[in-house]
């Protein structure tokens, strides 16, 4: 619910909160009816997300589908969590302040925390835990990369402004940039996106039958091992990698074929080999919808990442057993708190039929209606639209400030959760 008419000129210093690129080179502008639109750049993902924001009044909180005042919804949510033996705090679509708040709720309720997008993030984490890796950031790619190998998926599908973000502009010394799309199914679409942002780049696409095989061969060739079966194209790519001044391998951990861990490990091994003689680094493109922020806050406060149970024996980190899908499949949890404050995040898993506390964007309201199990819905404000905040960008090394774009009355995730927690602990 807007109380002041939002400004109809582009907002200064706005940051787009709708994917992990957290673009700061676009802005937002409202029309006279209070409908926001992206200006200064095109992004289908942001535009789709912004379509959920208008000046319409927000729905009220609800308990079991019936509208209730906020304090009653808070009581019901707390009661539901007091009765739960093992809740999952999932989704985790929010900002750092929200994460600080749900950390306390996790402790009070003995919950497991896991983000909606955590399959890819967990694969990336497991490789980190096993062997580490070498990474780079958007500005480094823009400034240094002369070869970018995109592995396994078309990153522009989910992160439409990626190429704009890493395209060198006229202020940098001109340099040749080669881009290779390796095992990217929708290569033509990605070529079109690249052509728009980086018209001078040379783009080649290599289709692969088996991505794991392909990058295993590449890794071996880069290490100058004999691979009889290697094709000319594979040898040429390995040579190109060995000759690059600053090679970037870019992948989306959530879009790699399974086992994603194996693919990432091979890619990091390739980077490691290259770094013995030249420079190379990886860019792992994931962590949208608050997943990266949730991972960071959980790790710094407790020492352990997501998929950790705040259990009676201690903090039990288990990247397999404590994932959302595994917990649901095992019937391990008896309550689900789902946090999704941008509206564009995944909805609570459709197959979850148990107790639900949905702390979400107003557009999620219908999902807490008509359920047989106890259901609480609390609408919340959106960081980066309704209030300021912070989210981590994909590479984890940059924490972006989010600003409010309009005034409205809904509480933030942090405020709602901070009301629930003391009532659970009591």
């Amino acid at each position: 619910m807007s109380v002041l008419p939002p400004p109809t000129s582009p907002l200064p210093a706005w940051t787009c909160p709708f994917c992990a690129l957290l673009c700061d080179d676009v802005s937002l502008q409202f029309d006279a009816r209070g409908t926001p639109a992206l200006v200064g750049g095109q992004c289908p993902r942001a535009s789709a997300a912004l379509a959920r924001f208008d000046a319409a009044p927000a729905p009220s909180s609800s308990v079991d589908g019936q509208p209730v005042p906020l304090d009653q919804a808070i009581e019901s949510a707390a009661g539901l969590l007091r009765r739960a033996r093992l809740p999952l705090i999932g989704g985790l679509g929010g900002d750092v302040a929200g994460a600080r708040a749900w950390m306390r709720l996790a402790e009070a309720s003995g919950a497991i925390c896991d983000a909606a997008h955590s399959a890819g993030q967990t694969a990336a984490l497991r490789v980190l835990q096993d062997r580490g890796g070498y990474f780079t950031s958007l500005a480094e790619i823009r400034t240094h990369a002369d070869l970018i190998v995109v592995v396994g998926s078309a990153p522009g599908e989910r992160h439409p402004r990626l190429w704009q973000r890493i395209a060198p502009n006229e202020l940098l010394e001109p340099r040749d940039i080669d881009i290779v799309l390796l095992g990217v199914a929708a290569a033509d679409d990605e070529r079109a996106r690249i052509a728009q942002a980086l018209p001078s780049a040379t783009v080649a696409a290599h289709a692969t039958a088996d991505l794991h095989d392909e990058i295993a061969v590449l890794s071996a060739l880069v290490a100058q091992r004999q691979v009889e079966s290697a094709s000319e194209a594979q040898r040429a790519l390995a040579e190109r990698l060995r000759g690059a001044r600053y090679a970037v391998l870019l992948w989306e951990p959530g879009a790699l074929p399974q086992p994603a861990e194996l693919a990432i490990e091979l890619l990091q091994r390739t980077i490691s080999t290259l770094n013995l003689k030249t420079r190379a680094a990886g860019f792992s493109l994931g962590g949208s919808d608050g997943a990266a922020s949730a991972q960071q806050v959980h790790a710094w406060q407790t020492g352990l990442p997501l998929r950790t149970r705040h259990g009676p024996l201690g903090l039990e980190h288990d990247p397999w057993r404590n994932g959302t899908d595994a917990l649901l499949a095992d019937g391990a949890i008896d309550a689900l708190v789902w946090i999704a404050s941008h509206g564009s995040e995944p909805a609570p898993p459709a197959d979850w039929a148990g107790a639900l506390v949905l702390i979400g964007h107003p557009s999620f309201a219908p999902l807490a209606q008509g359920r047989a199990a106890p259901s609480v819905f609390i609408p919340v404000a959106t960081p980066g639209i309704d209030h300021g905040g912070h989210q981590f960008r994909a590479e984890f090394s940059v924490l972006m400030p989010l600003t409010a774009a309009r005034e409205q009355h809904l509480p933030s995730v942090a405020e709602v959760v901070s009301l629930i927690t003391p009532k659970v602990a009591a």
């Binding site: 402790e107 070498y134 480094e140 420079r279 201690g314």
Partner: protein, 561 residues
């Protein structure tokens, strides 16, 4: 407000030249004088105790990107075999664990239990400043602050390379301190982190950066002068070139020379005091470095003592961390190039008594502690967690205070070190006054914290009360009482209150016109533009969990030495 008196303790307050049995009165979070005839509301019998100001760690990696990467890299630091570490029994403590990579919450509890009341993160990446402030905001009890890393961002290197007006470079540095809400400025492997991005593998103090053609000497000289002129209390904090390299004493001495008489604080010097003598071409240059420190009053140091056992090294020095990554134990590591501004390398490490190199490192650190004459210019650190976790400070204090204990430890090491180290012949034992200087009074002075690190009237009542025991390790591990701003926060090694600490930051003067240059640089490389990069006071307050803001005014003085 109520008044508390600590009665009958030996008050060791070297900043005020006090070492005497006397009462210490506290009111409204401050040390006060009791009015004649005034009766305190509460008296604590501190007979047979030693009272010091709260400890101040001026170099401890307690918050920010690389610390959190270390946590992600080492889940095993939070398990005992297959079992999770047990949760804290104290209901005041949140679940937060770990040994060399503890969570921020555990970090605050463990420091406070030892009588420390402030810790400073020495390597804040400018583009990651908010993250560092968030993590430090989640350090309970402790005051905190950070040094922003400079001297490897393409913008400043380019300005030095182009021979731009010094004043404009100084404005960039002033602006960066202001925008990141930094307490000080650190340079890590001057120019070397950037050079590694251009595939340079080594950079001596007078060698040129492969791309920008500037030398570490240029970088150190420029930054040290800027820090002086901006009026920062803390001198330029320097992680010198060639960390860990045999023979690096030459670059360490050259770095001191590069200061051109400006003040400089050389950090974790144990890693920078190696010679090339002996059969292994790796020897102690501790005496050479100590001689240089003794001879140059503009230089202060912290040691970065190593402690045997498992730890993890987290550094901005990608060039050197990459070179040392093959030594990782367990065998895994993380590196990153960050935003044309910095880098980070996280390499787990296990220091072993039976290793010649590790034993030598251990001895070098202690030699430095014992050979530097002015205790006000040497600070007790393990470069947590790089040399070892901060929880080993009580052990380190005993090594410094107890020659018998020290020699016992030395005898357990690699035989060449046990028999050949000059340490065996060093008879100095630090006394309690010197320990108080090395762990609170000295760092407070080096940071310009006027109301911390001492117990004079008007000082903040950050106080540690230790039971005087012959076993100094036991004594310093669990103070009887610890007060933070007058509030009892720990008693006999148990947390009893969890206030939120404050954040120290400097407020230098600079010409705002520099924002145009920075906006151009941001557009060029796609880094944060000045409008977004600047952290406001309100935002800092949110990051710091609404702890007190502790700004430090800086006076610009052009041409200051």
């Amino acid at each position: 407000m109520s008044t508390l008196v600590l009665r009958g303790a030996r008050v060791i307050d070297p900043a005020n030249g006090v070492d005497a049995v006397r009462d210490l009165a506290i009111r409204d979070g401050r040390i006060v004088d009791l009015a004649p005839g005034e009766h305190p509301d509460r008296v604590l019998d501190a007979n047979a105790c030693v009272v010091m100001a709260g400890g101040i760690d001026l170099h401890s990696h307690v918050g920010g990107g690389k610390v959190n990467l270390a946590r992600l890299l080492l889940p095993e630091d939070h398990r005992a075999g297959l079992e999770p570490l047990p949760l804290p029994l104290n209901p005041l403590e949140h679940a937060s664990l770990g040994c060399c990579t503890p969570g921020t919450l555990a970090t605050g509890y463990r420091y406070a239990e030892m009588g420390y009341t402030a810790a400073f993160e020495p390597a804040m990446v400018a583009s990651n400043a908010r993250h560092a402030h968030f993590e430090m905001g989640d350090l309970p009890i402790l005051d905190h602050g950070a040094y922003v890393m400079l001297g490897n961002e393409e913008t400043v290197l380019e300005m030095i390379a182009r021979g731009e007006d010094f004043q404009r470079i100084r404005d960039v540095i002033g602006w960066t301190i202001h925008s990141t809400k930094a307490m000080g400025v650190k340079v890590v492997n001057p120019g070397g982190i950037s050079a590694f991005k251009f595939n340079q593998r080594a950079l001596d103090v007078d060698a040129e950066h492969a791309h920008w053609r500037v030398t570490p000497r240029d970088v150190v000289r420029t930054l040290a002068r800027a820090v002086s002129e901006l009026g920062l209390a803390h001198p330029l904090h320097i992680h010198s070139s060639n960390l860990g390299v045999a023979g690096n004493i030459a670059s360490t001495l050259a770095t001191i020379d590069a200061l051109d008489g400006h003040r400089g604080h050389l950090t974790h010097v144990q890693f920078h005091a190696y010679g090339t003598e002996g059969p292994k071409k790796f020897s102690s240059a501790a005496q050479q470095l100590a001689d240089a420190v003794n001879a140059n009053a503009n230089v202060s140091i912290d040691v970065g003592q190593i402690i045997f056992g498992q730890t993890v090294t987290a550094s901005g020095d990608t060039m050197r961390q990459h070179a040392n990554a093959h030594l990782a134990n367990p065998r895994k590591w993380i590196g990153a190039d960050i935003e044309c501004d910095a880098g980070c390398g996280v390499v787990p490490f296990r220091y072993r008594e039976e290793s010649y190199v590790n034993a030598l490192q251990w001895a070098i650190g202690l030699e430095l502690f014992l050979a530097v004459k002015d205790p006000w210019r040497i600070v007790l650190t393990t470069d947590h967690p790089n040399g070892g976790p901060f929880t080993s400070y009580p052990h380190l204090i005993r090594l410094l205070m107890d020659k018998g204990f020290r020699n016992e430890q030395l005898a357990k090491l690699h035989p060449d070190i046990a028999s050949g180290s000059p340490l065996a012949a060093m008879t100095r034992e630090l006394d309690l006054n010197e320990i108080a200087i090395l762990t609170r009074a000295g760092p407070a002075r080096l940071l310009g914290l006027r109301d911390r690190g001492h117990l004079g009237v008007g000082a903040a009542a950050d106080i540690a009360v230790y039971r005087d025991q012959a076993d100094r390790e036991a004594m310093f591990a669990k103070p009887v009482w610890v007060f933070k701003d007058g509030r009892l926060v720990a008693e006999n090694g148990r947390i009893v209150a969890v206030p939120t600490g404050g954040v120290h930051y400097s407020e230098p003067e600079f010409d705002r016109g520099i924002e145009k240059t920075l906006a151009d640089a941001a557009r060029k490389r796609g880094v944060l533009d000045p409008a977004r990069a600047a952290i406001s006071r309100d935002e800092l307050c949110a990051c710091a969990n609404h702890g007190a803001l502790l700004p430090h005014e800086c006076k610009l003085s052009v041409g200051a030495a």
